[in-house]
């Protein structure tokens, strides 16, 4: 069974067999050949162009002596030999629906391939999931899990659980009714699909058994439907394009859902369940065990899709299996992952101001009235901005200290709430005015070492731009992350001191991995900033000659980097 052998492989630190390293998404490696003492001697071992200039989120996989990775659209999948560094054993480019890039909202990224049972699983932007023979690249089957004609696309990295390949969906034009799908690993046949909004049968909730983590009680009948007016749940959003994790002991699959379908809160009164939620499901049946909604009736566009990191935490003298999630909304949630009971929810950016805190009893944010978005009123200085205090860029965990290493955004916004109007023949809705680094200052990103239970930040590296790439922790005491300007950094886990850095050809929005080949430890990362991050920043940091918002800014991301697509591999001498 794929699961057993895959789980065994995931324990081997010499390989990187799952997108997040293993099912816990701790992104922690027990390799310690590279240490705080010698990392300054890290150098480029080899490189390879990805053949694509669009944004490179995600990471490669290392299985045995092969490396596999997927580029941004047009989604080239490469199988490289580690024996003959960078030699392409095979490559595969799906023949895609040309419509797909026009509906993809936020650059045509891809977050990586998955592996299981001798196959590489790759999502194409147009919604097809391909199962490729890992040795030859031949297509064994393909399954269609998203339809660009309806506005849906696919960017996430699949997860192999037992005999299933789990995928989500990215939202599109009008609010896709989000879902996750389980396909049979051998045939691609759809085994189940669970929606994020709608009637109990569609969302696969058991009214008497599925627990609302906030109340500790069963959700009851039609808990999603009751939180929407009319038929709006059908455009309900709750897309599922983030990272997935799995606890084999509890047999629970964890993921987060995105924002409600339409951005306009006035079109969807109610809590809009289950957008902005963490859902725990039994992967055999798809049925939800528990759910927790973080931002009800979202008015700020804080997506809930970020990774759910599985660790054991000592709480009140007892060891509790926990799930830690750094949400877009700026709060680091810690739950008992058995039942969704909330243990902590601290701000991981002290300047978060849309809510003062999360009420631990109800699980609901206590919203600051003066940061509530209002129709026709320009509310200023809301932090975080709608890119979130952290977006999909994954954090990592250091078991030695119990700290999380988190790449964050330190960006705020002026927001005018949507009020749909009509100017004789032309519909109009107010848009957000602008986003900018906190206080219109120089710090647009913070890379932090954070204690999720206490809310304390141990150390911070301030960066000019958002820290849009993921983190990697190692037993050697080093944490790796990449900056938006293209620096790959090695940082001392204990002190936050930058021990080494290298300027790669383009901004880094991907996630570093580490592995060994022939007894030697390597660190690999994809370099390639893509359009989304660059555009979001170039507007913000232009001199104020025109446009809205930006005042007295000094430089653009374009002064520091450019589009690119390179796989970078580093090693010691």
């Amino acid at each position: 069974m794929a699961n057993e052998s895959l789980m065994q492989m995931a324990k081997d630190p010499n390989q990187w067999v799952m997108p997040s390293g293993n099912y816990t998404a701790q992104r922690y490696s027990t390799l310690n050949q590279i240490t705080t003492g010698n990392v300054k001697d890290l150098h480029v071992a080899w490189t390879m162009s990805t053949g694509s200039l669009r944004g490179h989120e995600g990471q490669p996989l290392v299985i045995g002596d092969m490396m596999y990775f997927e580029s941004s659209f047009p989604n080239h999948v490469y199988a490289l030999s580690l024996k003959d560094p960078g030699r392409m054993i095979w490559s595969f480019t799906p023949d895609q629906d040309k419509f797909a890039p026009t509906v993809a909202c936020c650059d045509v990224v891809n977050r990586g391939v998955a592996y299981g049972d001798g196959m590489i699983f790759a999502n194409a932007l147009d919604g097809y999931l391909y199962a490729l023979d890992a040795a030859t690249g031949k297509v064994k089957w393909k399954a269609k899990n998203a339809d660009p004609e309806t506005g849906a696309t696919q960017t996430m990295a699949p997860l192999v659980v037992k005999n299933k390949v789990i995928t989500g969906v990215s939202g599109g034009k009008f609010g896709v009714q989000g879902y996750i799908t389980a396909d049979d690993i051998n045939t691609g046949k759809q085994l189940w699909r669970a929606y994020s909004t709608g009637p109990d049968a569609q969302i696969m909730f058991n009214p008497g058994k599925t627990i609302d983590g906030a109340t500790g009680k069963p959700v009851g009948k039609n808990s999603s439907l009751k939180s929407w007016q009319g038929d709006q749940w059908k455009l309900g959003g709750g897309t599922t394009w983030g990272w997935y994790t799995y606890d084999p002991k509890l047999n629970l699959l964890y993921y987060g859902t995105g924002n409600p379908g339409t951005w306009n809160p006035t079109q969807r009164p109610g809590d809009n369940k289950y957008s902005m939620s963490i859902i725990a499901r039994n992967p055999d049946t798809g049925e939800a065990k528990w759910v927790f909604q973080m931002t009800p009736h979202d008015g700020w566009d804080y997506d809930g899709v970020n990774e759910s990191i599985l660790t054991d935490t000592v709480v009140g003298g007892k060891t509790v299996p926990t799930l830690t999630h750094f949400d877009c909304n700026g709060f680091a949630y810690v739950w008992d992952r058995r039942d969704g009971h909330l243990l902590a929810a601290n701000k991981f950016d002290p300047d978060v101001n849309w809510a003062s805190h999360i009420d631990l009893k109800t699980g609901r944010p206590v919203v600051n009235a003066d940061k509530m978005t209002k129709a026709g009123v320009n509310v200023k200085d809301i932090c975080p901005g709608s890119q979130g205090a952290k977006d999909q860029q994954p954090a990592a965990y250091d078991p030695a200290s119990g700290l999380f290493l988190v790449p964050t955004n330190h960006v705020c916004m002026d927001y005018q709430a949507f009020n749909v109007k009509y100017k004789g023949g032309f519909p109009f809705v107010g848009a957000l005015v602008s986003m900018y680094p906190y206080n219109h200052g120089d710090v647009g990103g913070r890379f932090i070492a954070f204690d999720a239970m206490t809310g304390q930040t141990k150390w911070v590296i301030n960066d000019r731009f958002q820290d849009w790439g993921g983190a990697l922790t190692t037993k050697g005491g080093v944490v790796f992350y990449g900056t938006l300007t293209g620096w790959l950094r090695a940082v001392d886990l204990k002190t936050g001191k930058v021990l080494w850095q290298f300027k790669t050809p383009s901004g880094i929005i991907g996630n570093p991995i580490t592995y060994t080949y022939d007894g030697r430890q390597y660190v690999a990362v994809l370099s390639g900033v893509g359009g989304w991050a660059a555009i979001g920043l170039s507007n913000d940091l232009h001199k104020a000659t025109e446009g809205l918002g930006a005042v007295g800014a000094t430089a653009t991301l374009g002064d520091y980097t450019n589009l690119g697509g390179t796989l970078m591999v580093f090693a010691l001498n």
Partner: protein
């Protein structure tokens, strides 16, 4: 180029609206009675006194299904005070009972469930082969851009620092102007690309076979949600739940026919069009 921002335009409109509105109690249009439709007598392709606009066709269909006589109450939707004042003078004071075309979720009136979705589009000469897929397409920055003022496109261009170089049009704000004129501006080369609401020009595209349209997609590229497609509904007075209920039932039963009427007028449905049913669940 107007220096005012959309925020200021909203506030100005609201003040005018507040001083003009007065409440009235009205019974819903009785079955078999008369359906009084608020419409503009001189704003093709939406509606005109000759009944040739797509709102006119929709109104005829709706009245027929309700078993009611169709009666128009004419008013200039683009006059002084704009659409808000038009609504206040005509719908809110009871001269008429329903507006055929209104964005879903609008708070000034009571909107029905949506019966179609459309979007803003790029319009340009096919043979130019411009690579335009969104407002972030690099080629857009090299072109002479025209846009309809006080629309999400104006805001999108502002966000990208492109609005000062672009040319604004005000078809929706000036009575007597025709949306056809923006197509002519592309045809003449006055502008390279016009970005406007598709239903405003859909009916005229057949007269300009060398022009093509490309949908402007909703976007979060700048981090701000930018909405360029809109579900569209009919609208009634806020206290007229009874008529809304009847219209919702009609829409639920006849969305494909309503959309067929729009398509005959060259209106391009966005997204859910293929299924013909606004309420079809996406993603299946």
């Amino acid at each position: 180029m107007k220096p005012t921002t959309p925020v200021m335009m909203f506030v100005a409109g609201a003040l005018v609206c507040a001083s003009m509105w007065w409440p009235s109690a009205h019974a819903a249009a009785p079955a078999g009675g008369t359906l009084k439709v608020c419409a503009d007598p001189g704003y093709p392709p939406y509606s005109d006194r000759d009944g040739k606009g797509f709102e006119n066709d929709i109104a005829r269909f709706v009245a027929g299904k309700l078993g009611a006589k169709l009666d128009y109450v004419w008013g200039d939707t683009r006059g002084h005070g704009g659409f808000s004042e038009y609504l206040a003078r005509n719908l809110d004071n009871g001269r008429c009972d329903v507006v055929i075309d209104m964005p879903y979720g609008n708070q000034e009136e009571l909107t029905t469930n949506p019966y179609y979705v459309s979007s803003y589009v790029f319009v340009f000469k096919k043979n130019k082969g411009y690579d335009l897929q969104s407002l972030d397409s690099p080629e857009l920055r090299t072109l002479k851009v025209g846009f309809e003022s006080e629309t999400p496109i104006e805001t999108g261009l502002q966000l990208r620092g492109m609005v000062l170089k672009a040319r604004s049009f005000d078809i929706g704000g000036r009575s007597g102007t025709s949306p056809r004129s923006v197509l002519q501006a592309v045809e003449d080369g006055t502008i390279d690309v016009m970005i406007t609401w598709q239903p405003s020009i859909g009916a005229y595209l057949k007269d300009y076979p060398d022009l093509i349209t490309v949908t402007v997609p909703n976007s979060r590229a700048t981090g701000s949600p930018e909405m360029y497609s809109f579900p569209m509904s009919m609208a009634v007075r806020k206290d007229d739940q009874a008529l809304k209920t009847r219209l919702d039932a009609l829409i639920k039963a006849h969305t494909p026919q309503l959309q067929a009427i729009l398509q005959r007028h060259g209106v391009e449905m966005a997204g859910a069009a293929a299924s013909g049913d606004m309420n079809d669940t996406a993603g299946r």
